[in-house]
């Protein structure tokens, strides 16, 4: 994930679009251009086959999708 917020800022130099609906399909940087600033979005977790109990204790979570070991480069997979 080579995400950088500055790409988003740079790519939105053009004047704000009058009609939001029309522009929110195009993406600029990593988010649709109409994405409001400073509003976090956390996808809702859905059920999945959990780890076995002992693996869960080892991984620190019962849910594989939440098993995000820290990578040296400083981003999750």
């Amino acid at each position: 994930m080579d995400y950088s917020y500055f790409d988003v800022i740079k790519s939105r130099r053009q004047p704000p679009m009058a009609n939001h609906m029309m522009s929110n399909m195009e993406t600029s940087g990593r988010f649709p251009s109409a994405t409001p600033l400073a509003m976090a979005y956390v996808p809702f977790q859905t059920w999945e086959e959990p780890f076995d109990a002992s693996d869960a204790l080892q991984a620190g979570t019962l849910f594989p999708q939440l098993d995000l070991p820290f990578m040296e480069e400083g981003y999750a997979r």
């Binding site: 809702f44 059920w47 002992s54 204790l57 019962l62």
Partner: protein, 84 residues
Amino acid sequence: MSESTMLLDTIRKYGFALTELNLYLDTHPKCTNALSYFNKYKELYKKACDEYTSKYGPLTIDDAGANDCWCWTSGPWPWEREAN
């Protein structure tokens, strides 16, 4: 690893699974999958606790005082358990 430690590890791992499912069920109260896993682990957890209590004495005060003696303080302290 002594049998008591193994039993304790079993209790810990099932307890952890229960806590995780608790957190998930808080936000997904109607998830039948999570509920069935929760009930499954609750049974396993209770069985492991009962087995431990019958062999090595009470884990929590809920288990203490079952027979006529207050054996809560008579058993070895947790840090002594590995010693014997």
